[in-house]
Symmetry: C2
Subunit: 421 residues, 2 copies
């Protein structure tokens, strides 16, 4: 963000920022953007709430000036995965359900002399921004509430894509390339099917990203199954069997959230999905393992299953430069918007052009955003429902470009971590 | 390897190289070392057997000059995971069991005018070198047979460590750091146990490498269980329960091969280990998932399990510079040894010094090596059997240092792949 000299010397009150929901590889780059822009625009103290609104209610917060001491620390923060401040999965009740809670929140905000409240998160976090800004307007509080998007799932509406998605897509595509090489090295006089399980409960954006592994020296995956379409296990068996007649190594990418026609998750067939998280979401795991067992039994071939797991959202060492920069940009843009009087808004990423890729920060009313899920459009999946189209690839490809070299110390990437002393 | 001008202009016959066993991130760096040194020492044609001795028996081989066209290709090969030439899991029968097979092998070698046969692989591959060199000596064939070690498991005797181990250890340590950040970001007002499952059937070298995540800004894992020691599930439950009283996020690393006192693999408790591979090894999977379910039920906390899976051996993008360089060195040293008349030997890595770390290539009789497994010594594990010692750390730490920046094309690491045309 360019230094805004016109406001830098005006004394302003304080600002507070929090992180919420599932972490990503670049959620801290948004935090860095918030911090840097808040400093540049003359806010006095930049507070970080610990573990989002949940920790805030326990009056858990830090002055970020005690944590970030230099431009080097800002660069390190950009390269640090997960939520530096800690995250939470806390859904604010409706205003009428617990008015005392809202009074408590605003009394803490008043005590800290907060002028702007920035919340970095996904669908559920934007709901928090909506409720707090509504309450402030109704009750005549002056604080501004701004949302900064983040989610590896890319399922937020109105933004072209979400910060965090590009880095997860890059990690998945790079790992898929490496696994395809591994499989080809092993396949000789024996057939092998490798099934990759990718995160994405309802949205197949990340599963589709495995197609980026198709490059001049790599065939990419053979079949891709997104959760937006009903999973036809008979078609899956037939297609895999046909492919195995033609080639020794078959690579299949499936979303963790694929469902059968009767509505059951595939992972439920193996006894998975047996507990729900704080938002009432079923935990999905074991889809690829179930399908690997199924194919092995039906086709008699060697199979293996690989879950990309938590590393999809935490592998900062393979983060995308475009993604880190955009995450930083939207963090800064939220501070700018609040400083200019906006509230109840979320910053979004607008795509200006595909090639050369250009983007800018836009802003939308958070009432239009919260709780709408953006899914992969049907026309971006092929007719048979087992691969994605060129449009999908063109959409993702710019988002995985470039990298920030990790700061390596003793052979490992270094991170900036919270100093609680 | 330094160019050996004294021999470069002497006309030599041909050399053949193959890759065998489970791939690693740096087995192709050894191939690059073989190729470069063979060229420098004046061998005429450098053949690559496709899929090891198994493909060789089908007369599947390539002239590597048709694949590697430049120094740039050699650099790309060093950054390419898995076996460029393809691997195999083929155990040569005893000479007396199938003399016809040996005659066939040597007739192909004679036809191709092979002077030296280099085989890059693990324990089973060194058995191949032993049998072929024995046969040659008994039958009066002049070919030389040399082994180049590789295995992520580090379980080969007589070499200080194996090429492939350092890169797998680096990937595991870096990923462990990222996962620990992820867990800490989420843990607030709820307890969570994360169980990491690491490769290593009998040897705990890689599981111990998770301890490298303990750095100035990271606590590292809390408990580490190696397969060398009997796994005491009651002790595991008690220790985890005690840790959860003190901290919100507990990180536990387990080897896939941990066994109970009655000899059963832990993964067998969940119905895993249900098939065996070509070498009669049980396939182990599901150890962490079983233990996560067990802890969740016993302690009532949130748990998750993460398998590092195939990426442990294929994540070239996180390979160690020390490892890539040593893999290259031992490949070249094998060619030199064969050229100087050695046979029935394996090149090893000798550690000259710990700090600053220095190593060199040594050579050992393959009869002393094959089928001996090098395990973690008991004194490198703490008394309670749930963590490793400082000596273990000092042993591994030099092996994960430095990196080779991947060659990124369109946002993804580029690889050198076999051109079959």
């Amino acid at each position: 963000m360019a230094k805004n000299n016109s406001t830098a010397h005006t004394a302003k009150r304080n600002i507070i920022v929090g992180q919420s929901g599932g972490p990503t590889a670049v959620i801290n780059s948004s935090l860095a953007g918030v911090y840097k822009t808040a400093r540049e625009r003359g806010f006095h103290t930049v507070y970080g709430m610990l573990h989002g609104i949940e920790g805030f209610l326990d009056e858990q917060y830090v002055d970020l000036a005690t944590q970030i001491h230099s431009d080097m620390d800002i660069e390190l923060l950009k390269r640090t995965p997960s939520a530096f401040l800690g995250s939470c999965r806390y859904k604010l009740p409706g205003i009428h359900e617990d008015p005392g809670l809202y009074e408590k929140i605003f009394s803490i905000l008043d005590k800290l002399e907060i002028e702007a409240f920035i919340y970095i998160g996904g669908n559920d976090s934007m709901d928090t921004i909506k409720k707090l800004s509504d309450y402030a307007i109704v009750k005549g509080h002056e604080q501004k509430f701004l949302g900064v998007p983040k989610t590896i799932d890319n399922d937020l509406a109105l933004t072209d894509h979400t910060p965090g998605f590009g880095s997860a897509a890059k990690y998945i595509a790079a790992s898929t390339k490496e696994i395809i090489r591994d499989a080809l090295g092993l396949a000789y006089n024996r057939k092998m099917v490798t099934i990759l399980e990718v995160m994405g409960r309802n949205a197949g954006w990340l599963t589709g990203a495995t197609a980026l592994a198709k490059t001049e020296e790599c065939e990419g995956p053979d079949l891709i199954y997104l959760p937006e379409l009903t999973f036809d296990i008979d078609h899956f068996l037939k297609k895999t069997g046909e492919l195995l007649k033609k080639k020794d190594s078959v690579i299949i990418a499936v979303s963790e959230g694929i469902k059968l026609a009767d509505g059951r998750y595939v992972c439920e067939l193996s006894g998975g999905a047996d507990y729900v998280d704080a938002f009432g979401h079923k935990q999905l795991q074991g889809t690829a393992a179930y399908l690997a067992g199924f194919l092995g039994a039906e086709l008699g071939c060697k199979t293996r299953s690989i879950e990309f797991s938590t590393l999809q959202r935490s592998a900062s060492h393979m983060a995308s430069r475009v993604d880190i920069n955009e995450a930083f940009m939207v963090g800064g843009a939220a501070v700018k918007a609040a400083d200019e009087g906006d509230t109840g808004k979320m910053v979004v990423i607008d795509r200006i052009a595909d090639d050369p890729y250009m983007s800018s920060a836009g802003i939308y009313d958070v009432h239009r955003i919260a709780n709408n899920e953006k899914l992969v459009p049907r026309e971006w999946v092929n007719k048979e429902g087992d691969y994605i189209t060129e449009e999908f690839i063109n959409y993702i490809e710019p988002l995985i470009q470039g990298d920030y070299q990790p700061f390596m110390v003793n052979g490992l990437p270094q991170h900036l971590v919270l100093n609680r002393k």
